[in-house]
């Protein structure tokens, strides 16, 4: 049976329709009170930004090796996947939706965490250990704004939260289950194109965590290398811009506003590449070095 939910996930409102029990169970586990049941057409939110569907494929494939298909406002960006991967597909579909359609913010493929209201961006390609590091920090005194995309208000240093589950892959799944035994995990999506995937519900300590912006103070490009000592390389602004632009989705659509936003972020941030194997080393580096240096840079810039 097709069920409809509304999901208030600041700064967006989603409507999600699904006939897959696996998706319903995982949505409830991951989003808790933010997920609102639409019964008999009775809606809760004043408006919807995006209408998403994740449903069984029709016909014969509903019974033989069943598949799930994702649609955003009737557009189907991906080929169907095995129905056991449906929740992961919905999460990826939400990423695709924002990356493709969001024009109010400059969108960067990046983890974002804040200490108080001082944010650090972690732009990185898949396989860099970004999500494992994000999960560790989010459960150890840092505020998660996003595991996947930074939404920057144009022409400011302000990044707004888009708090979603953290996507863990392969070996990091067992590690996270060992670290965070009381946390909520989604069911496992096996053998996806990223390997085995599990989502970890984001820790939200205060309701304001979902809406309170933070100011970008630093950009750290992380790279996980097994057994490596922490290695830190400070980037100059041209190097940082070069790498940041590689991870930016929509600056070209926003025109000079997007360009000037990226420039402003780079000019006012401390920028590093780090190679690491121990997330605790990274946390110490961020807290003892990065944020203090970042504040010096901001002071110097405005001096």
């Amino acid at each position: 049976m097709l069920k409809t939910f509304e999901l208030a996930l600041p700064p967006f409102h989603f409507q999600i329709q699904t006939d897959l029990p696996l998706v319903v169970d995982n949505l409830k586990a991951m989003y808790g009170h933010g997920l609102l049941d639409v019964i008999n057409g009775h809606t809760h939110l004043a408006y919807i930004d995006y209408k998403l569907h994740i449903t069984h494929t029709n016909g014969f494939r509903r019974f033989y090796k069943p598949q799930a298909r994702f649609k955003c406002d009737q557009y189907e960006p991906f080929k169907p996947l095995n129905h056991s991967q449906a929740f992961a597909m919905l999460e990826w579909g939400m990423n695709w939706t924002i990356a493709s359609y969001e024009m109010e913010h400059v969108v960067i493929h990046s983890g974002v965490l804040a200490r108080g209201d001082e944010a650090v961006l972690f732009p990185a390609p898949p396989g860099s250990g970004k999500s494992t590091m994000t999960a560790h920090l989010a459960f150890n005194g840092w505020r998660l704004l996003s595991d996947e995309m930074a939404l920057i208000t144009p022409l400011t240093q302000s990044v707004v939260p888009f708090v979603r589950p953290i996507c863990l892959k392969n070996q990091s799944i067992a590690l996270a289950k060992q670290w965070f035994q009381d946390a909520a995990f989604s069911s496992i999506a096996k053998d996806t194109h990223k390997g085995d995937v599990v989502h970890l519900a984001a820790p939200v300590h205060h309701s304001s965590d979902l809406i309170r912006p933070a100011q970008i103070k630093a950009i750290v490009f992380p790279k996980f290398v097994a057994n490596a000592q922490l290695e830190i390389v400070q980037l100059n602004q041209a190097q940082a811009m070069h790498q940041l632009a590689d991870n930016a989705f929509n600056y070209s659509v926003l025109g000079d506003k997007g360009f000037n936003t990226l420039i402003g972020v780079v000019e006012r941030s401390a920028c590093f590449v780090i190679t690491y194997s121990d997330v605790q080393d990274v946390q110490a580096f961020l807290e003892q070095e990065v944020l203090s240096q970042a504040n010096d840079i901001v002071g110097e810039h405005y001096a």
Binding site: A238, M241, A245, S252, D256, F259, N260, I263, H301
Partner: protein, 81 residues
């Protein structure tokens, strides 16, 4: 020669505060490039005051080909012997 004078209309330039380079954004094509040289160095090359290496020549030619700088801006280049 000032670099601004040879940028095509719709091309924005930002010289980084730490002098590590410049960034150009072309509004017409939405392409962005980062150059790891200062604007003054590019100006000296284009004005013929500094000789131009093969890599620098390639970089400037690429800027012309991609529509960041006006055609015929490279006429004054002095080649490194």
């Amino acid at each position: 020669m000032l670099i601004q004078s040879i940028l095509k209309q719709g091309v924005h330039m930002h010289p980084f505060h730490d002098l590590s380079g410049i960034c150009l954004y072309n509004d017409n094509t939405t392409e962005m490039v980062t150059l790891f040289v200062q604007a003054t160095h590019v100006e000296r090359l284009l004005g013929g005051q500094s000789p131009c290496s093969r890599d620098e020549r390639r970089m400037l030619q690429s800027l012309e080909d991609k529509g960041f700088i006006n055609e015929h801006s490279l006429s004054c280049l002095k080649h490194l012997s």
